[in-house]
Subunit: 514 residues, 2 copies
Amino acid sequence: MNGAQTLVATLAGQGVEICFANPGTSEMHFLAALDGAPLRAVPCLFEGVATGAADGWYRMRDHPAATLLHLGPGLANGLANIHNARRASSAMVNIVGEHALSHLKYDPPLASDLEGLARPLSHFLRRSASAVDIAWDTAAAVRAAAAHPGRIATLILPGDTAWAEAPPAALPAFAPTPLKTPDPARIQAIARVLRAGEPAMLILANKATRGRALALAGRVAAAGCRLGSQFFTARIERGAGRTPLERIPYAVDQAIAFLAPIRHLITLETTEPVAFFAYPGKPSQLKAPGTLVHTLAAPDEDSAQALDMLLEALGPSASPPLVQPRLETPPPTGALTPLSIAQALAAAIPEGCIVVDESLTTGRETMGHTMGAKPHDLINNMGGSIGYATPLATGAALAAPGRRVFCLVGDGSAMYTIQSLWTQAREGLDITTLIFANNQYAILKAECANMGAGSPGPQAMNLIDIARPAIEWCAMAKSMGVPAHSVTTAEALHQALANSCREPGPCLIEVKLA
Amino acid sequence: MNGAQTLVATLAGQGVEICFANPGTSEMHFLAALDGAPLRAVPCLFEGVATGAADGWYRMRDHPAATLLHLGPGLANGLANIHNARRASSAMVNIVGEHALSHLKYDPPLASDLEGLARPLSHFLRRSASAVDIAWDTAAAVRAAAAHPGRIATLILPGDTAWAEAPPAALPAFAPTPLKTPDPARIQAIARVLRAGEPAMLILANKATRGRALALAGRVAAAGCRLGSQFFTARIERGAGRTPLERIPYAVDQAIAFLAPIRHLITLETTEPVAFFAYPGKPSQLKAPGTLVHTLAAPDEDSAQALDMLLEALGPSASPPLVQPRLETPPPTGALTPLSIAQALAAAIPEGCIVVDESLTTGRETMGHTMGAKPHDLINNMGGSIGYATPLATGAALAAPGRRVFCLVGDGSAMYTIQSLWTQAREGLDITTLIFANNQYAILKAECANMGAGSPGPQAMNLIDIARPAIEWCAMAKSMGVPAHSVTTAEALHQALANSCREPGPCLIEVKLA
């Protein structure tokens, strides 16, 4: 057995099922070790696809995927989506190939400061010193990553440790780290706040926005507390029959107005809402002055347990839990607008589907219209590095076979990591990608004014308008083996969405905006 | 005047002519400042295009371009091509937008350790502390970058320093840093070595492979010294009438055999040749045991001056300088092979063109056949992070209008930064991209065996073969506004290359390999 074989065996032994890979010469022993091993390897044509897919996998599975990256530049290409995953509390284990130790002193072209590149975004960072260490290092990496909240683990694998002999290691099987229990005194204080009846909102995030925690939050709402979410959430179980959450708006003025009546913000696995960007003369904090912030569950605590304790402290409620009713949306007709797009989605999406939302300007104001659609999961970009949606959808589809993924993405955003389409075709994934083609970085046009930088002049517009040439989305999709067509009306979009659920495999719908 | 306006004015004042940009909300004041400023801004759909294009610009101009990147993830997306530029001694000035200082304490989603991400690959790294500092910081960044050898400068621009008032700064105009003079005693020692007549090779690199230095090297060759280059060189002036350099092979065994007769390696702006990767049981150093290495010009010294001094010390030579004769290559016919591809190039490329080579397995053994073609510049990837060719060609074409760029790239490599095609179409650049479509990471198939990892099994091959689906290159190019067609014979390739020189603007030729 060599080091690479121990690594692969240990990953599999610790419950890692999949590796998103873009290997190079220094990772050849890892590739050889895959043969016959119970670890699925998925090829990616760019490293940002690999790390974004690992994020998507974790969001649906709650256990890390691995990535395989080639030295410093391979890691660097994956960093933006590692940033997004880190902000989403998604776990991943990045295996980064490195030169053999004996070779590094010659400073060959691909050498770089791997620890330096990995450190800013890694919670766990280790360089395996020998083949014998690899199994223990790998198990430590998986354990560190898989704790709650999920973390980024990066393991550097020098070539000589990969190819040297290593004894099989007798490692304990993976056991999840128990969640931390919230402080009962803190819960009692929050119960007193709610009993006092001042306007309060529970803000749910991360693992609190699904499963038992979300259902329990519906009972807290019955006790008179509003339920909210940040504008972006890692994954929300949403739609008819689920506990509905009010979304804090993205725009600073709207968010401030939304939060103005609230006197108490009670947080579950998140912090108080802050503006995404700073704008001249506008505050960073969105809550009204004097609003108190109470932590019901810290990011590493057990939200469901905190909610159990809170409900126990509040005592029985006369009202039933808050539940989202099914709202039938008639299929829209006419022009494609943010509203008709949201209506088409609301009407078309099937039960159990996954919506990955990077629609930015097209979906920002209107995604609320899908609230009463059939039950689905909604996934957002937590780190703000755009281009996350197509790789994330790729990983989510692999993690949740049988559940169609709808990937909503602006044309500007889609171009960052468009290579994802190839992996979607390769693996035959059930993903419907919607490209909102407005031929501009529309968000920047608005942000220029928000920033007090005025209307963009010709040079600035040259960097915002991406219409010359307009990207031909059907040709783009076809080039990577994904069938595609364009729609120009709301009825055509609705029909295309519905049709996409009938055919297995990926497809792309270009939503042509005026 | 605000901080962003000072920044743009100072860049232009220090001789920076162009900025490759992928901006976001935090860079809106920079965009506004561009209007009316003598700084050309070129939009890129991905940051790796911006940094690779800046590298290409420097290779042809010897003065830095700027890039505009959006916070940590924007910088991260540009790092792989910054790595390549750093290894090529290319200068660039990266402007990285950052949150306002007042906003950072709230740890908003896009916040990250910018200095941590930039430090491993930046020679100069500074965060502007106030609007007043920006002009001085910018001038310092350009000065640090533009020294010889070129360096990576990264300037972090917090939003509030961009939008705050700043007085105009009275800065001295840019003046290049004088090159360092080599130590005369060292030169005398090298002259003694050459006079002794033991087998010697001068290895030229960086700025020594062009202009006066290259011509002077031809006279050293006349004194009985072989002339060589590393396998990869930042830019070589090459072809008929230029001083020819023998290329040290890439493969370890071939390189060792090539260097075996040499007793003295004399370096100009480089170090002794080392293997690109370490392989089990093979050496990292390629020179024969006992070979002595002599530094004629260190990377920061003046090669032309060193060669002048050496020629002075050697005295007049009876032989004429070494010059590459023109070798007419008849246009090839028949199957597309590495040889016929090189012959088609040799026959078709016009005088003064630029060849950006990332052909890897397709061109590795055969690029020597273009040695007697019409005079041209040859550019290689110095850092080994693949996907450099399409953005580099983009920057080179902008830097050298009127000179067609031939971008030779494997299909696997091309997919890393394929968004370059869009910028090529946008700017109407005279670039002929050749995609060598073998539908695999062919280099890895060979490297698996070289690494002693045996023949790739089915799981390993799954990560090497990219044929399912095969990328449709004509559709890919068309999707981004670049006309394209496929060729399957050597005569069709030759014709397509020749045709591409007649039509202005970009085109793509898919070279279909069996």
